[in-house]
Amino acid sequence: MTSVTGSSLTTLTAARTISQMRDQLSVLQRQLGTGKKSDTYGGLGLGSGLVLNLRAQLSGISVFQSNAVNVETRVKLMNTALQRIGDLRNETRSDLSAPFDFVLVQGGQSAAQRSASGRLGELLSLLNLDAGGRYLFSGRATDRPATDTMSRIMNGEGAQAGLKQIISERLQADQGADLRGRIVVNPAAGSVVSIEEDGAHPFGFKITGATTSFGATITPPGAPPAALSIDLGATNPPAEGTVRITLDLPDGTSTAIELSATTAALPGAREFTIGATPADTAANLTAAIDTELQRLAQVDLVAASAMQAGNDFFATDAGNPPQRVDGPPFDTATAMIDGTAANTVSWYLGDNNTDNARDTSVARVDDSITVSYGARANEDGIRWIVQNTAVFAAMTFSTSDPNARDRYYALAGRIGSAMDEPAGMQKVEAIQTELAGANVSAQAAKKRLTERAPVLQDMISNVEDISDEEISVKLLALNTRMQASLQVTAMLSQLSLVKYI
């Protein structure tokens, strides 16, 4: 502030108005150049609060949109993988629709098994899918692949057992040392035939009951270890009379010893000879049961044991480590124990928690909307397909083994029907549906935000921007005023008496 008292009026006003107009001109010039009303928040006046708020929303929108794009990309990739996993399951199922074709092509395996082996490899590589370094089927452990290598899963490595070893140990435990499926066949006592389990344990056959067509007296099995006796009574069974003993298998399926009485001195397969007395018949029946039990222990029991071993090895999470037969010796084992990282390969390497797999990846797509789109390879729907494909691929057969064909049929039948998930089990399609649902809400949020962004931008523009037309008009008006003012000032300065005297 300079004191201007005493300066002459014309100079004073002229200087002031012209410098004010110059200032206005430079403001208009800046506005014309930038298209912005002001280069500070202060210049926006009351609009500044609004603009700040809108800008914060707008910048939030961009990150939410990019989250939604990420969700879309990832869900698409996951969906492609899951679709293929479902297809692989369907291929195995159609390979294994009866009648089965027992022709070993290579390494003691059928063509269907070789295909299953190939499919297992594909399944594992689908599950190890990553999107830009982020593994999509590892739950929260997005930094590591979901599954171990096929070779380690099947064959183990060093001290760590793989699936094949688990199957073999389980088979020993299920068959028992005498290969009778942990059942003791007692010698006939008079007219009484009896069998019993060799202990209370989860292995081998479980006797569930018996029926006869001729009304023999049956003592049904009680608490484990179960025992069963059939008393033929005082009279021999009639020819063609049947005895049926039902047995449960380790995988939850059941089978039966079905024998029929014959008068022939040399009984055929699954027949017993009616002897002179019920005691003789009982001895014959006992021998027939023993033979059939040994045959079933080589056929159904092997398949069921392998199926269960697959479950022991694959159905794992944080609370459920892989299950091993407590041994050696395995053939007399009476319990399962938890496998450890040191002695068992863990097929699944990802996030092992037991919370909802979807919640392992959560993306915020709006201030208050989150979508869950995570997945774990050990979810039932995925694990079940991997497990059964692997079990089928792990088994080998020999043409020289007379039971090999039946055993193969037992296994193939089980694998084939397993490819239709049991009732109540999650299907891979259910995972796809859930992911698609997450993606739909992410895309809906994105669409909403995308529509909102230009509105916000517009509102910001309304406060911040200035139209070229408006500036042009202002410039024009200012120009006229400045010219006039300068001209008048010039004229006034000429209009001095000094000039005329």
């Binding site: 008292t5 005493g6 002459s8 928040y41 926006l44 910048s59 982020r134 997005t142 008496l497 005297i501």
Partner: protein
């Protein structure tokens, strides 16, 4: 009456016109001189023995409108005051960046929160983690640079006060000197216009620096007071002193000179009387008042706003609540809480009901280990309805019991069962005068793998000092924190801390980034009214992001208001200056017209002399 008389009358006429031309010449020469007031010639008929004896210059008048002059001085103070404030307000406004530009504070804060959101969507990506750390560092640096700007402006204001005080002293000395000469010369009946102009010019400049009142003190003499009535000049000039100091963000003015971090203005009167003009609030307008307001209020608030953001950023991400368990001791019931994690500066909230009212009392117990900072005032917390008790926990919970019981006993009782870190708060039992309603503590997480979302993301300074808003030497850690806030160097060294809440956290776990994002954008907290935003009774409540927006709006609105005030003030000042120029300024045209008149008068007088001369010659020839 003879020819001689006529001759001498004509001669006096010539003399008077010469003086007149001299006045016109001086006026024209000084037409653009600041402070110059137009002079006019006053003539009177010279009388000798009752008859005219020519013309006499009675006086050279100084054209001055006293009323306009007084108004102008008042408005000069106001104009200078608002001018300096508007100028600095614009600087502050500019400091927050161009709307929407990458360097604007809101853009940077939005960038930080967005980076956390992006991390929540992609927790294990190393580049996303790095982006969060970069954004946090940019945020910290922005706060540093903003508070450095504020400190710089405060130092400029401090220096400005120093310069202005020196100028005031110079002006007062000038006024004293000129006034002394005026008094000495007025006795000799000498033309005083130039000296009076000089004195008034100095007074006008002084009026721009301090709001003053000028009173006439006899003929041609003035006395100068501040508007608050302090004498600055009365024959002798008082002097001002100013102990200019270098300011940091923590330097605040205090009436007690030993505690004051800034300079203060003292008046020393000629008789040795001294007065602190800032403590006395004697300077109410003018440039100096503007500078003081900037230094001690506007810029202090701007700093407090930045400190509040830094404080809120650090505490929102690092604090967590510790709950309590019900406790019983005989008939007494209450709660017990584990204070193992209570840091210096952390607080415990206690609510109890006095049943006679019933009235509910809220108590905030703040851990203050520095005894010199105690006791705390109730204004220590933002919450206006609570009682604040500062207690040292330097001797553990056991060491704090005496102070706690002294503050709230005997109906509310504190003890330390098991002598560990457990604090138990019990009511009075059977008399049932008081019930304990709730007890919790807010503590600062000190480790990165804390087991939950909170972590010491921001720390105090590069030495990784934990920020807990501890009080030391009566000063909160918060003050000036915006100049020191830094990203925890352990995080910078290992970005996995952004994800790993404990040793078993999986790489894709978004718990922590989402927690941090929510703390910044969704969680509401109260903000200190010291910032000028929100009131004491109802403090501003909102998220950090909304508070940051509020700051920018506050400053931009204040700038806008200051500019509008300045425009209004300028209009008033300009019109007064115009009126002043009209009444006291030199108008060349009228000076020229006068010159013509004088020329004519001169010619006429000369003609008279010629005529007298001819008459004398005729007489001699006769």
């Amino acid at each position: 009456m003879g020819l001689g008389t006529a001759l001498s009358s004509a001669l006096s006429g010539l003399r008077a016109t010469q003086v007149g031309i001299n006045v016109v010449a001086t006026n024209v020469a000084n037409a653009e001189t600041p402070g110059y007031s137009r002079k006019t010639l006053a003539l009177e008929a010279a009388l000798a023995g009752g008859s005219g004896f020519g013309v006499r210059v009675s006086n050279v008048n100084r054209e001055l409108d006293i009323y306009v002059q007084r108004q102008l001085r008042t408005e000069l103070a106001g104009a200078n005051y608002i001018d300096i404030i508007a100028q600095v307000r614009q600087q502050i406004d500019r400091m927050y960046g161009e709307p929407g530009s990458a360097s604007a504070l809101d853009t940077i804060l939005n960038g930080f929160t967005n980076s956390l959101q992006a991390l929540a969507a992609d927790p294990h990506s190393a580049s996303t983690r790095q982006a969060v750390l970069n954004a946090a560092q940019v945020m910290a640096q922005k706060l540093h640079s903003l508070s450095n700007d504020v400190t710089l402006m405060r130092n400029q204001a401090e220096a400005g006060i120093g310069d202005a005080v020196a100028r005031v002293n110079g002006l007062l000395k000038t006024i004293e000197n000129v006034q002394t000469q005026i008094i000495a010369l007025s006795a000799q009946n000498v033309e005083l216009g130039a000296l009076l102009d000089q004195r008034d010019l100095a007074i006008n400049e002084l009026a721009g620096l301090i709001d003053i009142q000028v009173t006439a003190n006899g003929v041609n003499n003035v006395a100068i007071f501040t508007n608050s009535g302090i004498s600055l000049f009365d024959m002798q000039a008082s002097q001002l002193t100013f102990d200019e100091k270098p300011l940091s963000a923590q330097s605040l003015w205090n009436a007690n000179p030993s505690l004051s971090g800034t300079g203060t203005i003292k008046l020393v009167s000629p008789n040795g009387f001294t007065l602190d003009l800032i403590a006395d609030k004697s300077i109410r307008s003018g440039k100096i008042a503007g500078l003081i307001e900037l230094r001690d209020d506007i810029l202090v608030k701007a700093q407090a706003q930045l400190d509040e953001i830094a404080h809120a950023l650090a505490t929102a991400l690092s604090s967590r609540t510790v709950g309590s368990d019900p406790a019983v001791n005989g008939a007494q019931t209450g709660f017990e809480i584990d204070l193992a994690d209570l840091q210096d500066g952390n607080s415990i909230s206690l609510t109890y009901t006095v049943n006679s009212g019933p009235t509910t009392n809220r108590v905030t117990i703040v851990r203050v280990d520095d005894p010199s900072s105690l006791p705390l005032s109730n204004a220590f917390t933002v919450d206006s309805g609570d009682q604040v008790i500062g207690v040292s926990f330097a001797g553990g919970v056991a060491g704090a019991l005496a102070a706690l019981n002294a503050a709230l006993g005997p109906d509310v009782q504190f003890d330390n069962p098991g002598a560990g870190t457990i604090l138990r708060v019990l009511d009075d039992g059977a008399p049932n005068l008081v019930n304990i309603d709730a007890l919790s503590a807010t503590v600062t997480t000190s480790t990165i793998q804390s087991g939950d979302g909170s972590l010491p993301f921001f720390v105090d300074g590069s030495g990784n000092v934990l920020y807990t808003n501890a009080v030391n030497g009566g000063r909160q850690q918060k003050i000036g924190f915006a100049t020191r806030i830094a990203v925890n160097s352990a995080l910078l060294a290992d970005s996995s801390g952004l994800i790993n809440i404990d040793a078993n956290t999986l790489a894709g776990d978004s718990t922590r980034p989402d927690y941090l994002w929510q703390r910044l954008t969704l969680a509401n907290q109260l903000f200190s009214p010291n910032t000028g935003i929100g009131g004491t009774a109802q403090p501003f409540s909102g998220s950090i992001v909304s508070f940051a927006r509020q700051i920018i709006t506050y400053q931009s609105t204040a700038t806008e208001n200051a500019l509008r005030l300045k425009e209004g003030q300028d209009v008033v000042l300009n019109s007064l200056q115009d009126r002043m120029a009209e009444s006291t300024g030199v108008n060349i045209d009228s000076e020229m017209a006068r010159l013509l008149q004088l020329q004519n008068a001169y010619a006429a007088n000369a003609r008279v002399m010629t005529a007298v001369k001819e008459l004398f010659e005729m007489l001699i020839r006769v």
